[in-house]
């Protein structure tokens, strides 16, 4: 049983398909990375899976349940969390409030969930009273991921989690993602820093113009000369 299995996706805005037969699979405990040039449909694939882009054709299964075209709140209640690339925190709310709202859909006490998130991002505990909009890009990314982790997801979808971060913060973010994955959470992410992302990935997909081009383990994709030349900048 795959954690996530998307097959033959055709999806896009206003009747124009951005995805053209895309397929993706995430197994439990995997980190799966989607790379590819701009406009390849990487972000659209994530949004389509999460119910944010209309799907014209295709099927998405989550742990053997058909979840095609379900609205986002049903994704959340099934344990799928999504972190958009931009505007991914509530700027006027405090860090703590951002995290609490992450668990809005869940019943029960937040204390344990918060402790788990603080264990991964200790900085968020220190700064929990801080207004999220006033934080640095790196800290905001932590808040965004922390918010997503509050629903105790089985699958975490990250859209370019390292965009705009300094090299040091990029390293740290990938470390955290590996740490989150080690807790048994499947990760599906889109990344521009393709080489680094593939280094920690279990598997990777290369997407171009909405179609699957390559699919292999992280190291194998990195070693593939065609992929390196065409998609990883030589």
């Amino acid at each position: 049983m795959s954690l996530l299995n998307a097959q033959g996706l055709y999806a896009g805005y206003g009747g124009v398909d951005i995805l053209r037969g895309t397929h993706l699979r995430v197994e439990t405990h995997e980190i799966v990375v989607i790379v590819g040039p701009n406009g390849a449909g990487k972000s659209t694939a994530m949004k389509a899976i999460f119910g944010l882009v209309p799907i014209r054709q295709g099927r998405i299964d989550y742990r053997d349940e058909n979840i095609t075209r379900r609205p986002p709140e049903q994704m959340v209640s099934r344990g799928i969390a999504y972190v958009p690339q931009e505007a991914n925190v509530f700027p006027s709310l405090s860090v703590l409030e951002n995290l609490e709202l992450g668990a809005y859909a869940l019943p029960g006490d937040n204390r344990q969930r918060l402790e788990k998130v603080y264990a991964i991002f200790p900085r968020l505990k220190e700064r929990r009273r801080q207004q999220a909009g006033l934080m640095s890009g790196g800290e905001r990314q932590m808040v965004a991921m922390g918010r997503a982790l509050m629903i105790e997801p089985q699958l975490l979808m990250l859209d370019e989690p390292t965009a705009g971060l300094s090299p040091q913060l990029i390293d740290e973010t990938f470390e955290r993602i590996a740490e989150i994955n080690a807790l048994g959470i499947g990760v599906l992410m889109v990344e521009q820093n393709a080489r680094q992302a593939l280094t920690i990935a279990s598997r990777g997909y290369v997407l171009a113009t909405g179609e699957n081009r390559y699919e292999d383990t992280g190291p194998a994709l990195l070693a593939n000369p065609e992929v390196a030349e065409m998609f990883l900048g030589g």
């Binding site: 709140e73 994704m75 209640s77 505007a87 709310l93 609490e100 709202l101 809005y104 859909a105 918010r147």
Partner: protein, 286 residues
């Protein structure tokens, strides 16, 4: 000097009434992204609900207040579910125009049900307190205390409850609220309920301070929008500050210009705000 203090007292009173209206209008804008033109008439109908409770059950106005707030909250939620909900996906300007139509309907309903002449909650003369040279009516104190209580209540609602936080979150970032699994429709209903209840309170206080007539809310709509814009659109705390500033400015302006220009003062502040600091005192959403 005495005159200034007296006008400030009146200004704070008017300001608290404006603030109650503006908090609702700004929250509705924050969550739904449209200027609700029927907000003033919602205030008026709340005032008339209280009038009916007062005259039918012979209750004091402060006991009629919660009833009127509940009824108006229900009415606001009902209007949203029946009218605005169907056109949520269209351009905001269409929502705005339909709220204008709703305003006309509400005002006509008031005239049909309660008549178009001036009415008061209690007849007879209330003896004002004479504190030195200053004049203060007991009702003024009551209005100010109740308005403060409601503002504190809203503050706790917004900062301490799950629903309040969800409301602020939706106002901050609608799309993120959606992917977080915040139930949009429930938050919208609560926003209308709170906005409607506060509007009713503002209407009742206005009726206590002056008198009830069908256009009482409509004429306050401009100062309320001015308060909303001055405070930063979508920012409830800004709306409180905005309401008080506009209220005091309107009253103090009578020192130099005739009182009939009070609404023009609010309008002038609104225009200047839009030119100089369009995001408002507290950085707003639009």
């Amino acid at each position: 000097m005495i005159e200034v203090i007296q006008l400030l007292i009146n200004g704070i009173l008017l300001g608290s009434i404006l603030a109650l209206g503006a908090i609702g209008a700004t929250m509705i804008f924050g969550v739904l992204r449209f200027a609700h033109f029927a907000h003033g008439d919602l205030m008026a109908i709340g005032a008339y609900f209280a009038l009916s409770v007062v005259s039918i059950f012979n209750l004091p106005i402060l006991l009629a207040l919660p009833v009127a707030m509940l009824l108006t909250a229900g009415l606001a939620v009902g209007i949203d579910q029946v009218i605005y909900r169907r056109i949520r996906q269209v351009q905001p300007v269409i929502l705005l125009i339909s709220s204008f139509a709703t305003a006309l309907v509400l005002r006509s309903l008031i005239q049909m049900i309660w008549g178009s002449s001036n009415q008061v909650y209690a007849t007879g003369i209330q003896m004002p307190w004479q504190i030195g040279p200053l004049i203060l009516k007991p009702d003024h104190l009551l209005i100010f205390a109740a308005a403060t209580g409601l503002v504190v209540f809203v503050h706790f609602f917004l900062t301490r409850t799950r629903m309040g936080k969800a409301m602020r979150a939706m106002s901050d970032n609608m799309n993120l609220a959606l992917v977080t699994g915040i139930p949009a429709n429930r938050v919208i209903m609560w926003t209308w309920a709170i906005g409607g209840a506060l509007a009713a309170a503002a209407g009742v206080f206005l009726g206590m301070d002056t008198r009830l007539h069908p256009v009482m809310g409509w004429t306050l709509l401009l100062p309320i929008f001015a308060a909303t814009i001055l405070g930063g659109i979508g920012r409830p705390y800004g709306a409180i500050v905005g309401g008080l500033v506009i209220g005091c400015a309107m009253e103090l302006s009578t020192l130099i210009i005739p009182g009939s220009y009070k609404p023009a003062v609010a309008f002038a502040i609104m225009v200047v705000t839009l030119i100089v600091r369009p995001q408002g005192i507290i950085k707003g959403a639009a």
